[in-house]
């Protein structure tokens, strides 16, 4: 039990929290304005098309109308901008969490649910718990450690449980079906069309995807050296998916960053920038005249 707790609450630098927050809240703005906009137009659809999900029944969410989607859209963007400044992290973070989840709900409560957007909610829920964090803050925090562990678990659960869903809905025969072929026919790029001429490649891809998803929890049992390489491997996998069928699970890509020592990358990037500029390496000082 105590070993499990020290794993679940392994301290993480607050600087990493500050950097991860910037990625998450900047992504929320891009997502709402550019990537996922179908909920916005539901404000103009007649309420007869509204099919409440359980979430909407529990919280008594009414059918969308134009004021509701405008407030959600611009209110969530404004809360994300506040969160990006680093001020009022708990209030701003909580507002972003409610706003983003509600906005996704409006998108999904008209008959079509996108299945790649569940895990990101975990990041939005745990980040406000931590409170103030600055990019130069070297202190470590057990609460931050818990938050990152929760995000990592949600991230890997997405892979593992989607393999489970393939067995539940597609059967064990999913690996031998034409599912990827169908996806490539429907929305393949020139690379996808090229793969269609090598049918065994798409068949083998299904075996590879299914195996990688089933084995994904192993990431928690390997050394840091291999953990980072496995994350790089998942980024490569998602880049290849995008190249072949132009589908990317955008929020999930942000979640993967929770496995990486972001503050170390930042420090080495800053040091490299300074030496490129010909500056002497120096200590960070907060000078005020």
């Amino acid at each position: 039990m105590s070993r499990l707790w020290s794993w679940l609450f392994a301290p993480v630098p607050l600087a990493r929290v500050a950097l991860f927050r910037r990625c998450v809240y900047a992504f929320v703005i891009v997502d709402i304005l550019l990537l996922h906009t179908s909920g916005y137009r539901h404000g103009w659809a007649d309420p007869v098309w509204y099919q409440p999900l359980y979430l909407g029944e529990v919280f008594r969410i009414p059918a969308a109308d134009v004021p509701q989607v405008e407030i959600l859209k611009w209110g969530t963007v404004a809360a994300s901008l506040l969160a990006l400044t680093g001020r009022l992290p708990r209030v701003a973070g909580a507002l972003v969490a409610v706003g983003w989840v509600w906005y996704q709900y409006v998108a999904f409560a008209y008959g079509k649910v996108d299945h790649d957007r569940g895990d990101f909610i975990v990041a939005l829920l745990v980040l406000p718990l931590i409170g103030m964090a600055a990019t130069g803050d070297r202190r470590r925090s057990e609460l931050a450690g818990f938050a990152f562990r929760a995000v990592q678990l949600a991230c890997i659960a997405t892979y593992f449980l989607s393999a489970w869903a393939k067995v539940r809905f597609g059967g064990w025969d999913w690996v031998n079906s034409a599912t990827i072929t169908r996806a490539v026919i429907r929305r393949g790029t020139f690379l996808g069309d090229w793969l269609l001429h090598i049918p065994w490649s798409l068949h083998a891809t299904q075996w590879v995807i299914f195996s990688l998803e089933m084995l994904s929890p192993l990431i928690f049992f390997v050394s840091e050296y291999w953990r980072r390489r496995m994350i790089a491997g998942w980024f490569a996998f998602h880049a290849a998916t995008y190249a072949v069928i132009t589908i990317a699970f955008w929020p999930h890509l942000i979640m993967l960053l929770a496995f990486l020592p972001l503050e170390q990358y930042r420090d080495s990037a800053v040091a490299r920038w300074r030496s490129w500029r010909g500056e002497e390496p120096r200590l960070r000082t907060s000078t005020s005249p």
């Binding site: 137009r41 130069g136 818990f146 989607s162 907060s286």
Partner: protein
């Protein structure tokens, strides 16, 4: 921001707080697991992660749903694009509601209204019908035959005898 604490200082949590957080994590984990094993899309965000989870058979008809409209001053049915920018909904959302639409075609009338509100300067839609187009496949190859059948028309005055039977648009090459 000035730091009072030296490098390497660690902020700890009390045991009751750790127990509370662990309990919350277990509860959310249980919801995600239950959603994967028993849940449906209505469970979102805890529903099953079923992206590309279904299996596709290599032979059989491939059906798709189309929307056709009559614009003001034009008596011909014309294909219309069905997406959030034109009617506030996307195609899958209309396809998923076909039983209700066939029971009550006046639901289609709301698409005419939404179109007028979203695109007030475009030609107004006077009538709308939903058509299913079946492309026939044999071992993954098109046979060349496409069948269209009308699923619903609104308003009912726009319905004509051609809507009563499937129409074959293209015959297989001899």
């Amino acid at each position: 921001m000035a730091q009072e604490a030296p490098d390497g200082d660690t902020l700890r949590l009390s045991r009751p707080l750790k127990a509370l957080l662990t309990g919350a994590l277990l509860a959310i984990t249980a919801l995600f697991l239950a959603g994967t094993v028993h849940g449906s899309d209505r469970w979102w965000p805890f529903g099953p992660w079923r992206m590309y989870a279904t299996s596709t058979a290599p032979s059989g008809p491939v059906g798709s749903t189309l929307i056709q409209v009559k614009e003001a001053g034009d008596d011909q049915w014309r294909p219309a694009s069905l997406n959030p920018d034109t009617v506030g909904l996307n195609r899958a959302e209309v396809e998923g509601r076909m039983p209700q639409i066939q029971a009550d075609p006046s639901m289609l009338g709301t698409l005419l209204e939404s179109h007028a509100r979203l695109l007030p300067d475009a030609p107004q839609w006077q009538a709308i019908r939903v058509v299913r187009s079946d492309v026939l496949l044999e071992n993954g190859v098109r046979t060349g035959e496409v069948r269209e059948s009308t699923l619903a028309v609104w308003p009912s005055s726009a319905r004509t005898p051609e809507d009563d039977n499937p129409r074959t648009l293209e015959e297989a090459a001899p």
